[in-house]
């Protein structure tokens, strides 16, 4: 149902004409060949210089070699790192990678928007809790539980997909979102279902069994109370199995059918594909992966609570898939690592400050390249900051006498450059924040030197907001950033970091 004409062509003929002639300047479309495709192939052609050579060489390495290398590196991590916190973050990251792989089946391959995905993760965790704790006095052996939970998850996905199978993407999204809400309502109020206590409500289910494989129980914590590293290896093993299984699935007949479904469901149906069945399959596979992951998370935490499965988690997993590149398994794994580390670093003001300025510098370097413009921007921003701070100090001592959050040398530097008032008047935060967002949005509209000139105050304003508003509240900051990443990725690079660009021919 796509538009055969670009609206701009009709309403603003001059602009449209300029665009198409500029495009034709690069490649002249051959007869019988779609101009769009021609342009796109041009863009995907090998880059020149050593970058292109390296890219081509790396492109030859098969996927399983990458996977082996990656897994080997993660396996070595506990050898080098004694820190229980880092190991725990590594485990959480593997969990996120699994979640992203599962969502990739639904969103990336199936092209379906499943907003109830985290509910399946929750169902897996609760199913594990029911089958391996004192809640119903059941203590099944781990392999049976894992098998059952995966089946239950797949079945749940199938059932949720069932009423929505006739519906288009948007309705599916809303049905699954409501299903998610229903799951939360059920778990929160499940301590009184017609007088029976099923889920123990907001208090959650505690004291779940530890995993036990081949006759040995894997301890949750070491004797020093540190993270039990056995769980990392179990999660990693599950990750490899799921990765390979899904990879093979994607190369199979079903995988190809999914892709055709995603590109054009109507055309697929006309070709005689069982569209509804395929959609349900994608749903079920995604849900089964999520449920399996839920088992792992629950068994390590030793408890499940309804608040472990809320909306922010869903957005986090979506950001991983979209940022990494929906449809590409390696991409979503990369996305999971990036987002998971990002969320972890943003917890602590000192670390997140380093990340903030680092990302700003790298971003500037990547966009402006080492050039005169970059130098102008950097010098201008630093100069503006120093001047602004001196002026502020001259006006009122208290405007600059605040202490930058966190600590360390970087905090000291930041406080010498950015205006950090002792107390922030109530109106300053909203005004500065809104101005910053406005400035960033305007930046995307202007070009050339106007952009460079505007960039300087925008950067300083961003630093001001970061030091005074965002560092003080890590929790909302983390999630606001996730939302911004989602929108920015969708608008600027909808195929993510590693995803393959889709050619849409209408």
């Amino acid at each position: 149902m796509g538009d055969r004409f670009d609206d701009g062509d009709l309403t603003q003929p001059l602009e449209g004409a300029a665009e198409s002639s500029a495009a034709e300047g690069g490649t002249s479309p051959a007869v019988g060949r779609d101009e769009w495709v021609a342009r796109d192939e041009e863009r995907r052609a090998r880059r020149g210089g050593w970058v292109g050579t390296v890219e081509t060489r790396l492109g030859v390495v098969p996927w399983w070699a990458w996977l082996t290398l990656f897994v080997a590196l993660v396996c070595l991590l506990p050898v080098g790192v004694e820190n229980g916190y880092v190991r725990r973050v590594a485990f959480d990251t593997v969990i996120f990678m699994l979640l992203a792989l599962g969502l990739n089946v639904v969103v990336g391959w199936g092209g379906l928007l499943d907003l109830g995905y985290i509910a399946f993760f929750g169902i897996g965790a609760y199913a594990y809790a029911f089958m391996a704790s004192d809640q119903f006095d059941l203590h099944f052996p781990t392999p049976i539980v894992i098998l059952l939970v995966t089946l239950v998850g797949g079945l749940a996905g199938f059932l949720v997909g069932l009423p929505s199978r006739r519906l288009t993407g948007d309705y599916l999204a809303i049905v699954t979102l409501f299903f998610f809400q229903a799951f939360l309502t059920l778990t929160n109020n499940g301590d009184d279902v017609f007088g029976h206590n099923v889920t123990n409500g907001p208090n959650g289910i505690l004291d779940l069994d530890e995993l036990s494989l081949f006759g040995t129980t894997i301890p949750r914590t070491t004797s020093q109370g540190q993270f039990g590293v056995g769980y990392l290896y179990v999660a990693l093993a599950v990750f490899v199995i799921v990765y390979v299984a899904l990879r093979l699935l994607n190369d199979s007949r079903t995988g190809r059918a999914w892709r055709s479904l995603r590109e054009d469901a109507l055309a697929a149906e006309v070709m005689g594909m069982p569209v509804n069945w395929l959609k349900l399959m994608a749903f079920a596979f995604g849900a089964a992966t999520a449920a399996l992951t839920g088992t792992l998370a629950a068994s390590l935490n030793g408890s499940v609570f309804p608040q472990d499965f809320e909306f922010p988690l869903l957005i986090a997993v979506y950001t991983m898939v979209i940022l990494g590149g929906a449809g590409s398994q390696a991409g979503v794994v990369l996305g999971a690592i990036l987002v998971s580390v990002l969320l972890e670093v943003l917890r602590e003001p000192g670390d997140s400050r380093a990340l903030f300025y680092g990302v700003l510098l790298l971003g500037l370097l990547a966009i402006l390249k080492p050039s005169l413009r970059l130098a102008v921007v950097l010098v201008g921003t630093i100069g503006l900051g120093l001047v602004a701070r001196v002026v502020a100090q001259a006006v009122d001592e208290r405007w600059t006498s605040g202490v930058a959050a966190g600590g360390g040398r970087l905090a000291g530097w930041a406080a010498d450059w950015v205006i950090v008032p002792e107390t922030l008047a109530g109106w300053v935060a909203p005004v500065a924040y809104l101005t910053m967002i406005g400035a960033v949005l305007v930046l995307t509209l202007v070009d050339g030197w106007a952009r460079i000139v505007l960039l300087v105050p925008t950067l300083y304003l961003a630093a001001f907001v970061w030091e005074n508003v965002m560092l003080a509240k890590p929790e909302p900051t983390r999630y606001a950033i996730l939302g911004a990443i989602l929108v920015a990725t969708m608008v600027a690079r909808p195929y993510g970091i590693l995803g393959e660009k889709r050619v849409e021919i209408v």
Partner: protein, 307 residues
């Protein structure tokens, strides 16, 4: 009987607010075929703008202007702020994706929604904001009014219901009686054909966002007059507004109104006669039932796709 009247009144108040939100979804969906997830958060922003305006005007106990002007001002401020927000969202988050695959703007909308909700929390905290309508004009909003049987209908509810319906009638007139409204209908029916007839599609789309977001802003203030507002309120309210739009038939204005009222009544009666805990679940069941048995809603036309 008294309980029934009271619950009907609750349903009517709640339903008129839902209907306002549903109209915003319907307007945008009708024209862009886009499910604007951020709409619920625009509603929250509206309630926060209203709160800010209320504080600027001296707070609810001792405002610098008469009560009626106070209410009108905060509503208009919220509507204007939200309309501007709607324009910005459309320009930067949706317009670049207008010809992308269907799933792209949906994900972008999800990001906008999340960004708005957590930006509010970042700037204003997670705590609840209360308009304290009870203190306005020494309680006149609660003590004035009339009785139906033994049930008191306070002025506050009359204000909410009447203003919601007044806005809906204005919207209806705007869409059905003006040239811009005609352009919107034409665009909704067939965007390409409308463009070929000389309609400026971009303007129509922006206008739909302005109208929808302004209504969400008004709904935010009307809702917050009765219940406290908080940063993450928009999620569940937006979900219900969308459900109302689907029940009525998404894209249809009378449908959104009917859907909002049905949902309001359903929720009020469930809370009164069954249980408050499960009322959200009940709403969910209604939605599923509609999607399975009548996906085009009460007033919608079945979507037949021509290739």
């Amino acid at each position: 009987m008294d309980t029934f009247i009271q619950l009907t009144l609750n349903g009517l108040t709640l339903g008129s607010v839902y209907a306002l939100i549903a109209l915003g979804y319907s307007l945008v969906y009708g024209i862009l075929k886009l499910l604007n997830f951020a709409h619920g958060d625009v509603f929250t922003v509206g309630s926060f703008i209203g709160f800010g305006a209320l504080q600027l005007l001296g707070g609810s106990t001792d405002p610098v202007v008469p009560l009626w002007l106070l209410l009108v001002t905060i509503t208009v401020a919220a509507m204007a702020g939200c309309a501007a927000l709607g324009v910005v969202i459309e320009r930067f988050a949706y317009r670049p994706l207008r010809d992308a695959p269907r799933i792209a703007p949906l994900i972008s909308a999800l990001g906008v929604s999340f960004f708005l909700a957590y930006s509010l929390q970042l700037l204003f905290g997670a705590e609840q904001r209360d308009y304290d309508a009870f203190s306005m004009g020494e309680g006149v909003l609660f003590f004035e009014g009339f009785d139906i049987g033994n049930v008191r209908v306070p002025l506050l509810r009359i204000v909410i219901i009447v203003s919601a319906f007044a806005l809906m009638v204005m919207l209806w007139l705007l869409v059905n009686r003006t040239r811009t409204g005609k352009a919107m209908k034409a665009t909704s029916y067939d965007r390409e054909a409308a463009a070929m007839m000389g309609i400026d599609i971009d303007r129509v789309i922006v206008f739909a966002f302005v109208l929808g977001s302004a209504l969400a802003g008004a709904a935010g203030v009307l809702f917050a007059l009765r219940a406290p507002t908080f940063a993450s309120l928009g999620f569940i309210i937006g979900l219900k507004g969308f459900t109302a739009a689907v029940i009525g038939g998404i894209g249809s204005i009378p449908g959104a109104m009917a859907g909002g009222l049905i949902l309001g009544f359903a929720e009020a009666y469930t809370q009164g006669y069954v249980s408050t805990r499960w009322s959200d679940l009940f709403v969910f069941v209604i939605l599923i039932a509609f999607m399975v048995f009548r996906p085009q809603g009460l007033f919608g036309k079945a979507d037949i796709r021509k290739v």
